[in-house]
């Protein structure tokens, strides 16, 4: 899987996306399992998506919305399961060496691509190298995963079933990145007729209309129940909502609170979380946010619960630092968070010399309606502590160049997604990280992060990551808000819909209930 900032929906959409669950749901222990009916084999369904696929080539695709769909067609050496573990997929087993310098994968026998060709070690080497940018002739469209390209020194096939990946430095967290799709090495039409190894195979794609897949009968694992799944592209959740009302869509994952309320007659509303760190990110490098007291004041001034109440009917998981509960054991649940307090905020501002108020600019990507809405709520809340915030809506490309790359901003509201590796969540806070757009700078943090990365011992790693979260909280690196709720409508005829801690729609588990 690749990293990307959540590129969720098209410009009119009401919510952003990315999913995760793990404790984020209302249903407790078995969050994804709606089941209760007996699975029937066969049938066709329509799944609504609000972001069109940006490419059918899994190594070229950037958008989270694309991975969400292609998950059904492609698999890596390993793939994530619903609990956030990495289970063997194309690989039958793997071994990580003691020094964490080599990963050895043994391939599963007779795994077939959708075009009938058996998966060979050449395919695996080609695929991993392509993702890591190690091919001699590299297609410039391929998004090279820096986590792989930075870590891998060599990918070799030692025999017909074994692939060895050698690293430049010790790294125990590479597995989440080896979910990158295994594709045939000699196949050239990946962008138009993708071929993978997943439980569904590609049928057709009409840009801005639909992406259709059908059951892969030769799948090595548990075969899918459904015969055919149509991912239908909607301009926005409003458009999809109208068709949901008409009963034309079976599964749709990005409902607004109001929409969900109206659909409850016809659909089961599944609640997950987006596995996303939504925050008002502050530029620690410029005034007034170079003063920790101002940052803390803002943390006190923002009423996070009200944001939840306003935008998602109270649903969503509040977060107190830069990590979400989806990361399980690495998540530091002992941090209490800044309480909502107008007085404290005012006091802190006064201490910092802003007793008479303060004016700031919030640069927000206008295509993310959910973040725009959040920003609007925040602006109103800040008024109460004497802060006048002005929203400057910018286009996504401008946001990327000015805010993310140029770091020319005061504050912004977005959601950041990440791979299931804990390092992926926090490494941007490293003072030297190229994507440290908050300009966060804490030497102690840097040292602890280095320690966490190098740690081979799990407990040591966990402790280090928990400390890192604490630094972010204490320094009030940003105003962390929530991991937003993900409301999904699932037809009452269906069972097996499952939330993943990553952004996927796994259709292999979905079935029609036996009548």
């Amino acid at each position: 899987m690749k990293r990307k900032l959540l590129l969720a929906l098209l410009m009119f959409s009401v919510t952003t996306a990315l999913c995760a669950c793990k404790g984020g749901t209302d249903k407790g222990d078995t969050p994804g399992d709606i089941s209760s009916g007996t699975p029937a084999v066969g049938g066709e369904i329509v799944v609504g998506i609000t972001q069109d696929l940006d490419s059918l080539d899994p190594h070229v695709a950037v958008a989270a919305g694309t991975d969400e769909v292609l998950f059904n067609v492609f698999e890596g050496l390993v793939k994530p399961d619903k609990d956030g573990n990495f289970v063997e997929a194309v690989a039958e087993s793997y071994v990580i060496s003691e020094d964490a310098m080599t990963y050895t994968f043994t391939l599963r026998e007779n795994v077939k691509f959708h075009n009938g060709k058996v998966v060979t070690v050449e395919d695996v080497v080609y695929s991993v190298k392509r993702c890591a940018g190690l091919l001699d002739v590299q297609d410039p469209n391929v998004l090279v995963d820096s986590a792989l390209s930075g870590a891998i020194s060599e990918v070799v096939a030692t025999d017909a079933h074994t692939v060895v990946i050698k690293l430049k430095a010790a790294n125990t967290e590479l597995l989440p990145f080896l979910t990158c799709a295994i594709i045939p090495c000699d196949y050239e039409n990946q962008a138009t007729a993708p071929v993978g190894t997943g439980p569904f195979k590609f049928v057709s794609y009409a840009p801005l209309e639909s992406f259709v897949v059908e059951k892969n009968p030769d799948y090595y694992g548990t075969p899918a129940y459904l015969d055919k799944v149509t991912f239908k592209v909607y301009a926005n959740s409003d458009a999809a909502f109208l068709e949901l009302m008409a009963g034309k869509v079976h599964v749709f994952p990005y409902l607004t609170e109001e929409q969900a309320a109206q659909l409850s007659q016809k659909y089961t509303i599944e609640v997950g979380t987006m596995n996303l760190v939504q925050a008002m990110f502050l530029n620690n490098g410029v005034a007034p946010f170079d003063d920790v007291r101002v940052r803390q004041a803002f943390c006190h001034a923002v009423n996070r619960q009200e944001i939840l109440d306003m935008l998602s009917g109270g649903r969503g998981t509040l977060i107190n630092s830069g990590m979400t509960p989806g990361l399980a054991s690495y998540y530091n649940d002992t941090i209490a968070g800044y309480e909502y307090s107008v007085e404290k905020a005012k006091q802190l501002l006064a201490d910092a010399g802003y007793a008479n108020g303060l004016e700031i600019t919030l640069t927000v990507p206008s295509n993310y309606q959910y973040h725009m809405d959040t920003a609007q709520v925040i602006v109103e809340q800040l008024k109460k502590v004497g802060v006048t915030a002005k929203i400057v809506p910018v286009e996504w490309a401008t946001w990327l160049s000015d805010v993310y790359k140029g770091r020319d901003y005061q504050a912004t509201v977005v959601g950041l997604d990440f791979n299931l590796a804990p390092s992926d969540v926090v490494k941007r806070y490293n003072s030297t990280a190229s994507n440290n757009f908050m300009n966060y700078n804490n030497a102690e943090f840097d040292a602890t992060f280095a320690k966490a990365l190098a740690a081979v011992e799990e407990q040591e790693k966990i402790a280090a990551y928990k400390d890192l979260q604490k630094f972010l909280y204490e320094d009030a690196a940003s105003v962390y808000i929530q991991d937003p709720a993900l409301l999904t409508a699932v037809s009452k005829e269906l069972g097996g819909y499952t939330f993943y801690p990553v952004y996927v729609q796994d259709m292999a588990l979905v079935y029609y209930k036996e009548k």
Binding site: L5, V62, A235, A240, A246, E395, L400
Partner: protein, 311 residues
Amino acid sequence: MKFILKKIGTLIITLVIISFLSFLAFSLIPGDAAVANLGMDADEAAVEALREELGLNRPVIVQYGDWLFSALQGDFGESTQYHLPVSELVAKRLPATITLAIYSMIIITLVSFPLGMLGTKKPDGAMDTAVTVLSQIGMAVPQFFLGILLTFFFGILLNWFTVGGYVNPQEDLGGFLSFLLLPAVAVAVPKCATMTRYIRNAVVAQKKMDYVRTARGKGNSEKRLLLNHVLINVMMPVVTMLAMMAADVLAGSIVVEQVFNIPGLGRLLITSISNRDYPVVQAIVIYIASTVVIMNTLADIMYQKLDPRVR
């Protein structure tokens, strides 16, 4: 014949100018497709490589020359967003938009003629006033608001059609056509109103002409007068106006496609603008521009053919 050749000559020059200007405009925009394409953490070298591949580093005029050369062969480049040939993307969108446009034109023609003539028997009479007020409302209502109202009444209150339930014409032609009816109404109403008003005014004006008095003096009945004398005179400017209206109808469908969630050219245009998918935007702009210019030329030629006075 010479006239037609001259018109076609001007048409080609105009198209070249339009395409160059739009090409130039899009090349001036900061923030290019390479950055948008590779996402937030892509490294500089990769962006540079992609830029190189997309040919974004060459002088505009060279890029334009290249583009024009391929465009003439029907190749409008590749969408930076979908990595598909632009012509293919556009071709897929065309049926919905064209059907919508034709539908609207039919509605405009069918409704505006009778409605326009309805009140002219007694100008400023009750019927005339009713038609005038109706057409004023029609001209004033924004197409998207009308679309929303239609959605609300027919889709939600009466449940006569599935809101947002666009059907692919290949799957179900009947469903496709019946779904497009309401959007077509939304596109057509303002133009219909303009047309009705135009026809009404033209008929009233023509009826005051001397030749009408002559025709009446010959013993023509009011009906014959209207059909044999007035209408043919009103027809000529109206037909040309209808041809020119095609452009407005296209513009209207861009907005209405958004309202009714129709995967047509308009939605592709709006989406591509937000994705900074310039090859697509470029192609659509030029496509629409060509349609507009061609329709206008056609209108000119038609007028030339129809009206004996300028023949």
